[in-house]
Symmetry: C2
Subunit: 204 residues, 2 copies
DNA sequence: TATTGACCCTCACGTTACGTCAGGGTTTAT
DNA sequence: ATAAACCCTGACGTAACGTGAGGGTCAATA
């Protein structure tokens, strides 16, 4: 009725060593052990592991994850909602990075180099510690909260709008572009055409 | 006319130690040194650093980045186009994860647990090594390429469509939702309301 | 029932990508 | 000219595993 490390590892897409490690550091141990000392993971352990992996994907340190999840007030549903918001933020950041890539390409093609802070403004904007601080500081006052939220999300409204537009193009224009054999100079066109091979064929 | 480590570090949002490290391992050294041995970075070095950071963000090992960028065939514009595609793929993955979070929440609320492979199918789908392999293997045949591309992108068409829909809601409904004080049970509503405080107020 | 191959266990040392002093020059601003 | 603010090169510390080493366990099979 339980799962062995190997089974869990395969299902979750992590290594056995990773599960051993999480056990060692007290982050996530199996609920049971067999007579021979084998780790036996329950269904419940799967949910916990999933959450650990979400937090990890979001850049949390394992130690921080452990502290979070061992807190008496911890609640899975709440954690999932936080994770959902963080994933959205991270996606927003990636779109900003795509934007920066496009602008850099423009600069290279036109010979007009970008401003330095513009080149890097997109990095390091997603700091998991900020979310920990969010929890820790308990800025309950609605004003301080709104401030912080606006700062974190930043230009997101614009970004999401742009992304919407991009998606639209992709959904509508894929076939047309591919068939017309448009010369792929625009990165978006490159995406659409899945033309990576052309770009990197001679590396290595 | 150049920049010191500290200046570069501040502009790029990395630590001085990181730049020292990149110099040590031969990934990215300054083009010049001052009389006293100070590292002097040029404008060109900034572009290189930006690319390094993009690759790093995408999960490449520094050693792999070094090999890539030192290849005689390496071209910045081409790299940027590859990065653009990878960023799009990564964004797609994040959206799948958001979806998985929503489904997990549904399962918890309705008491109907998710299938295990469904829970984790979303992890580890983005493997930077795949892209290295892409370059290395040179599957020039268009058929094999199309196959691989389709596998990598997967359900992206649906995902992007859904994401478009979400964005639409966000752009249209933010104020309305916040004003009406809708009870935040739906994660999307939570996002819209920026109601993280409610979720995590009692952690710590 | 004996064996073999696929797992599992616990050390324990190796690796990557930096963080963090330590000890000592350099540059700039007052 | 003297402190504050940087810069340099070691060199050891840390996080999150990877990678065997040496040795039990389990399920199928001969």
């Amino acid at each position: 009725m339980g799962y062995t490390v190997g089974e869990v590892a395969k299902l979750a897409g992590v290594s056995v060593r990773t599960l051993h490690h999480y056990d060692e550091i007290g982050l996530l141990g199996p609920s049971e052990r067999s007579g021979a000392g084998y780790r036996i993971y329950t269904d419940d352990d799967f949910l916990t592991l999933q959450q650990v992996l979400f937090f990890r994907e979001l850049g949390f340190a394992l130690e921080d994850i452990r502290r979070l999840m061992h807190d008496p007030g911890f609640d899975r549903a709440e954690a999932l909602r936080l994770q959902h918001r963080m994933l959205a933020d991270k996606a927003t950041q990636l779109m900003k990075m795509m934007d920066a890539v496009e602008r850099t390409l423009d600069g290279i093609e036109k010979g007009t180099p970008m401003a330095k802070d513009d080149m890097f403004g997109v990095f390091g904007e997603f700091d998991p510690k900020e979310y920990e601080a969010e929890a820790r500081e308990r800025w309950g006052e609605t004003d301080a909260y709104k401030e912080s939220a606006r700062r974190t999300r930043g230009y997101s409204k614009d970004d999401w709008a742009r992304f919407k537009a991009e998606s639209e193009k992709i959904n509508a224009g894929t076939a047309a572009l591919m068939d017309s054999g448009v010369p792929a100079v625009d990165p978006r066109a490159m995406d659409l055409a899945e033309a990576a091979r052309l770009q990197i064929d001679h590396w290595f």
